[in-house]
């Protein structure tokens, strides 16, 4: 779902295309806005599902209301549990004040089971020890923990209100290492500027939704030590 720097949407879309995943379904709901995605002349649901090998991607480019996000994430976790998925992974952005000056982006992780995850550590991610998360990833972690589904949220330092394909590439590199699924991010980095230009309107919508969710609180310093 569109979120910080559109990192999740860019990652899922690129991964889907790079791994040659096939569209296998989608999610629709009367609570979604009256929008359909036209692809190769066919009407597609707003939330699209692609699969291939041992990977499934689920994403939408349309910003959904916070209460709808909660329902959607909860339903997807139920589906994941029903289908016995090993892991539900969200690769998203972590808004960072000095993003402009960071050359080597760091990726953090949080697991629904809590604590360190060895394979994430050995793949170059660091555990996010404290802070606030707001949006779909927060719901994934909370519901994942409640429903005992393995959820891993990867958070890569990124711009908040600007599309950040570079952060998406870094997140995908870590994700590739963790799950042993090779995703070459060379094309993503080469097309980064055009992706940013194309994603302006999606980013604007997402920024409005993030403002409504008080997303900038993620920048805040946690009080609890």
């Amino acid at each position: 779902m569109p979120d910080t720097g559109l990192v999740g949407v860019i990652s899922a879309s690129y991964m889907t295309s790079k791994l040659g995943l096939h569209e296998v379904g989608g999610v629709d709901s009367p609570y979604f806005p009256p929008i359909t995605v036209i692809h190769r002349g066919f009407s597609r649901p707003l939330v699209r599902m692609f699969a291939g090998g041992r990977v499934m991607t689920v994403f939408t480019e349309v910003s959904l209301l916070p209460e709808v996000q909660v329902q959607l994430v909860t339903s997807l976790l139920d589906y994941a549990r029903l289908r016995s998925f090993d892991y539900v992974v969200s690769s998203t952005g972590l808004p960072t004040h000095n993003r402009l000056d960071i050359e080597d982006l760091k990726t953090f992780y949080v697991s629904s089971m809590g604590g360190p995850v060895d394979v994430a550590e050995s793949s170059g991610a660091r555990m996010l020890e404290r802070g606030l998360l707001i949006g779909p990833s927060a719901v994934l972690l909370k519901e994942g923990s409640r429903k005992r589904v393995n959820v891993l949220v990867l958070l890569t330092e990124s711009f908040l209100e600007f599309p950040d394909p570079e952060a998406a590439a870094k997140g995908l590199t870590v994700l590739s290492k963790i799950f042993g699924v090779s995703v070459d991010v060379t094309d993503l980095l080469e097309q980064a500027e055009i992706i940013k230009l194309r994603a302006r309107e999606t980013m604007k919508q997402a920024t409005n939704m993030m403002s409504a969710m008080k997303k900038d609180l993620e920048y805040g310093m946690p009080l609890h030590m």
Binding site: L100, F159, F162, E193, I194, K196, L197, R200
Partner: protein
């Protein structure tokens, strides 16, 4: 001879007229203020279009002693980035590295070619050019404006 009753009537007629005028003026002032506060509700509906000039994304951070404006200008040719101030307005323009034909993205954009970024950002105060710093990195223009 004018009796007291007629004088009183005249007085109240004038008072009533004056009060009506004040009420009318007050109504006009309130309507004007509401129009200014809610321009989107009273001005004709605008539908966003795509032309040869696109508006870049930007964000403004208030760091206490200074404002920092970040403008995202991906695919802009660095030598063409132009930032000017006019009173409390910041004017930004930049040319793209190459004209983009949006037909390549969707058939709905047949004939639309994008060549330039342009936008005007309203500032809360008039900046002092001597206390303003500009740098461009990774396709993002960072403009730091010190408050005083």
């Amino acid at each position: 001879m004018i009796n007291v009753s007629e004088s009183m009537d005249e007085f109240f007629r004038k008072l009533e007229k004056k009060l009506r005028e004040i009420e009318e003026d007050f109504k006009k002032d309130v309507e004007k203020l509401l129009r200014e506060l809610r321009p989107e509700e009273t001005s004709p509906a605008r539908i966003k279009g795509v032309g040869e000039v696109v508006e870049p994304l930007y964000t403004v951070r208030d760091l206490g002693d200074r404002l920092v404006v970040y403008v995202d200008l991906p695919y802009a040719s660095e030598g063409t980035i132009d930032i000017k101030f006019e009173g409390r307005k910041m004017l930004i323009s930049a040319g793209l590295k190459k004209t983009l034909n949006l037909r390549d993205w969707s058939e709905r954009y047949e004939g639309v070619e994008v060549k330039q970024y342009k936008t005007v950002i309203d500032l809360p105060f008039e900046p002092d050019p001597k206390k303003t710093k500009i740098r461009v990195k990774k396709g993002v223009a960072e403009v730091t404006i010190f408050k005083s």
